[in-house]
């Protein structure tokens, strides 16, 4: 079977994927292009899930429009922070284990935050 140096492949693919995703969302406005993932929950029920608006928010964030990004989906800030942390760990460590976010209290806190955010954004204004 194909024998390729494992860490080199992993790091190369991760770097290419990260650059591709950032470039795509910088150049493509999901509001206009309609390219990207559509939310099945929103389409079928009309409710906003925790991720709805995330792609548009990421596009605005990349263009420095922090307020608009926040209005579209406030979770974009912690999610991008988390993904940046994951990216750095995967590129700098051999076997990253993410001990902080795997603590029961932390993961439970994140779950409560996400559920609370989802309920809050669906409250009638």
């Amino acid at each position: 079977m194909l024998q390729i140096p494992f860490p080199a492949v992993k790091k190369t693919v991760i770097v290419i994927a990260a650059i591709s995703v950032v470039s795509f969302y910088y150049l493509s406005d999901p509001e206009k292009s309609h390219v990207g993932f559509a939310c099945l929950l929103h389409h079928s029920t009309g409710f906003l899930c925790w991720g709805c608006g995330g792609q548009r928010a990421f596009h605005e964030l990349l263009h420095g429009n922090l307020q608009k990004a926040f209005e579209l989906n406030a979770l974009v800030f912690p999610v991008v922070g988390l993904l940046a942390h994951v990216l750095v760990c995967e590129l700098t460590k051999q076997n990253p284990s993410y001990p902080l976010i795997r603590k029961r209290r932390v993961s439970l806190g994140i779950l409560i935050l996400v559920i609370g955010f989802t309920i809050f954004r669906n409250l009638p204004t």
Partner: protein, 149 residues
């Protein structure tokens, strides 16, 4: 349970990216000739036949786009490799809680749940970051683990 090392989030992510390219390439090998025949027929002036070919091609293409990746993953995970080609390259494999190969039923369930959850919200793929066994939702439901081979 035998000793094992978990695959790691990065290795799983990269395996998925590699698999997406493999499946995408395989799909294009099927799709491009069908539309090529349609385009060729259209260029020869027979627009009705070209339209018919393109129309008939859409249903199998839609089916292939959804069913193809599922069949690929089910077949590979329940094979002796216990891994897709992406996972083989990353030297990781899927085992059940007893350390055995997934049954065909478990592989079908795992794959369907996986594609359902990612279509529901791709953020759900971050789930392995939040538990010590690095299990995504599909792993938790089928009770499997992704480990280093």
């Amino acid at each position: 349970m035998t000793n094992f090392t978990l695959a790691g989030f990065g290795a799983r992510l990269v395996a998925q990216i590699i698999d997406s390219f493999i499946v995408g390439f395989a799909m294009s090998l099927i799709i491009i000739p069908i539309f090529g025949i349609g385009a060729l027929t259209g260029a020869m002036g027979d627009s009705d036949t070209a339209g018919l070919i393109a129309g008939l091609a859409i249903l199998p293409i839609i089916l292939m786009a959804f069913v193809g990746p599922v069949i690929y993953e089910v077949f590979m995970l329940s094979s002796s490799r216990q891994a897709t080609f992406g996972k083989v390259i990353m030297k990781i494999k899927v085992i059940d809680e007893q350390g055995q190969r997934l049954t065909l039923g478990a592989a079908v369930g795992r794959t369907l749940i996986k594609y359902l959850t990612v279509n529901f919200c791709f953020l759900l793929w971050l789930w392995p970051l939040f538990n010590k066994e690095e299990q995504a939702l599909h792993d938790l439901i089928v009770r499997d683990l992704v480990i280093r081979d």
